[in-house]
């Protein structure tokens, strides 16, 4: 519509649907996006550098602040990395509880994603429905560790405390509720003509490109690549669980949506198995009083709700803090796909695509 000049539109850092302080500089031809520059760093707090000056236990608290909608997953990832560095054995019960927490967290995070994604496309009711169910999970977490957002709920070598009595029953009850609510979301969206129009064929990403961009998690699986750290390199108790890894076919926004919806179901399946088969026993392994891993380096990845969350830690074996601490945040890596995805689409699709990548800026900027 603007013939001779391209319009440069600054989306963010203060914008209702960039999910935080993401800034996207769009170059528009009319409403069509010619190019996009993704500008990040507005939420940088230097967590990686900070961690090099904290002792090993204090870092758990910092990992909460990365992916703040899935804090427990970050905790688990970090603790397992340190355990790997120290070759610590984690008791089976602790591993089971970790699995339950991770999957509850995945559902909570996906609820938030579903709500905001639908809200971006204009379906406001789904947002509140999804938050209603997320609330139940937050209640469960509150009962488990006392916090609702930044849990700090993991300790190196196991759990800080055992699950409260009756908690596992509540988890099972939640699973039952959630089963029904998933149908509600699907009713509002999955076969909705407008939703299909808005998501099908938007941001198509073939498998080869998704791999080349280094995507992980649902955006990668939506493109048809069946990579899931839980299956490929099992951690916690995932090797004892039975679940499927849903993959998409077309690699568009709709497939990424379907993949995440199926992940809801698989997560519920895992939670049921883990809760019902929860073994008795200690919750903490044999952990020395002063945590001081031997010199060495390790990389350990887990499947966070957003994708592959990896920690690379170097220990010099002398001090009580890591020598080098580096995170591979899934949001950051997935966000690299945005520029490729939005080209040639309309402004309205940009928000849908940001939503379908499901980034959390706390994790992108760290």
């Amino acid at each position: 519509m603007f013939d001779t000049n391209e319009l440069v539109l600054n989306m963010g850092p203060q914008h209702p649907s960039t999910h935080g302080v993401l800034r996207v500089v769009l170059r528009l031809d009319g409403e069509k996006v010619v190019d996009a520059d993704v500008v990040i760093g507005y939420l940088h707090r230097g967590i990686e550098k900070l961690s090099e000056n904290r002792n090993w236990t204090q870092i758990i608290l910092l990992t909460d602040r990365m992916d703040y909608v899935a804090a427990a997953t970050s905790n688990v990832g970090y603790c397992e990395t340190v355990e790997k560095l120290m070759s610590l054995e984690v008791p089976r019960r602790a591993r089971y509880v970790r699995t339950i927490l991770c999957e509850l967290q995945r559902i909570a995070s996906h609820c938030l994603w579903l709500g905001t994604h639908a809200m971006d496309i204009g379906a406001m009711t789904v947002f509140l429905y999804a938050f209603r169910e997320r609330e139940l999970i937050l209640d469960l977490f509150e009962e488990f560790c006392g916090a609702r957002l930044t849990y700090n709920s993991m300790r190196i070598g196991g759990l800080p405390l055992d699950i409260p009595p009756g908690w596992d029953q509540k988890v099972l009850e939640f699973c039952k509720i959630m089963d029904g609510k998933l149908g509600e979301y699907e009713e509002l969206l999955t076969h909705n003509r407008i939703w299909l129009d808005r998501t099908k064929g938007i941001g198509v990403l073939p498998a080869s490109e998704a791999i080349a961009l280094g995507l992980s998690g649902p955006p990668l699986r939506g493109s048809g690549v069946g990579r899931d750290v839980r299956k490929d390199e099992p951690y916690a108790a995932y090797d004892e669980m039975e679940f499927d890894v849903p993959i998409g076919t077309a690699g568009d926004t709709y497939d990424r949506y379907l993949v995440r919806l199926e992940e809801f179901r698989q997560s519920l399946r895992i939670i049921r198995q883990a809760t019902e088969g929860l073994p008795e026993g200690p919750i903490v392994g044999k952990v020395p009083r002063l945590i001081k891993p031997p010199a060495g380096e390790t990389y350990h990845a887990i499947e966070s709700p957003k994708g592959e969350l990896g920690y690379f830690i170097v220990s010099d074996g002398k001090s009580t803090n890591p020598y080098r601490f580096r995170v591979r945040p899934p949001s950051f890596c997935n966000l690299q796909g945005l520029r490729r995805l939005v080209r040639g689409h309309l402004v309205a699709d940009v928000v849908a695509l940001i939503g379908s990548l499901d980034v959390v800026l706390g994790e992108v900027d760290r």
Binding site: M1, F2, D3, N5
Partner: protein, 170 residues
């Protein structure tokens, strides 16, 4: 009396806004005054017992054509500094001469024109319908059917022409 007050008020507004249309520097303001002008012309049509035409005037002129103008002005003015709104090539002198000539002319007409009103002709065309809208419609679809169809063809051609002109690649 009431009619005279209405006429003079409307005429004052019509002429005043018309002057503003051609004299305002900012093109968007000019377009706005044009809309107001058309609305007052529509009011004049109501005064002249032509309500259908008045509504058409608002619908087509104010609601359609001028919106088009506004669009074009917005597209054209988009990236330009405010001084670009100015009109460096104004032929002001010519304009004032013309204005003076018109004033003289109008004065002459007013002075020598028939002061007495012509007797109102009450010859009504024989039409099977009454009411302004019905009469206009009747004429359009009987005596003036062919011009009407030609007008619609003209609009179609104009539409296609505008699309061809304005679209970058077909």
């Amino acid at each position: 009396m009431g009619q005279a007050i209405a006429f003079y008020t409307l005429a004052a507004f019509i002429l005043g806004f018309a002057v503003l249309v051609v004299s305002t520097k900012d093109t968007v303001h000019s377009v706005l005054f044009l809309v107001l002008d058309f609305l007052f012309v529509a009011a004049l049509y109501v005064l002249l017992a032509a309500p259908f035409l008045a509504v058409i005037q608002v619908l087509v002129y104010a609601g359609g054509i001028v919106v088009l103008y506004l669009f074009v002005v917005m597209l054209v003015n988009l990236k330009r500094a405010p001084e670009a709104h100015h009109d460096p090539h104004r032929r002001t002198k010519l304009g004032f001469w013309l204005a003076a000539a018109v004033l003289v002319e109008l004065g002459a007409i007013a002075a020598y024109g028939p002061a007495a009103s012509a007797p109102a002709v009450t010859q009504t065309a024989a039409m099977p319908v009454s009411g302004n809208t019905e009469q206009v419609g009747w004429l359009l679809y009987t005596s003036y059917l062919i011009p009407f169809e030609i007008a619609s063809m003209l609009l179609l051609v104009a539409m296609i022409g505008a699309i061809v002109l304005a679209k970058r690649e077909l």
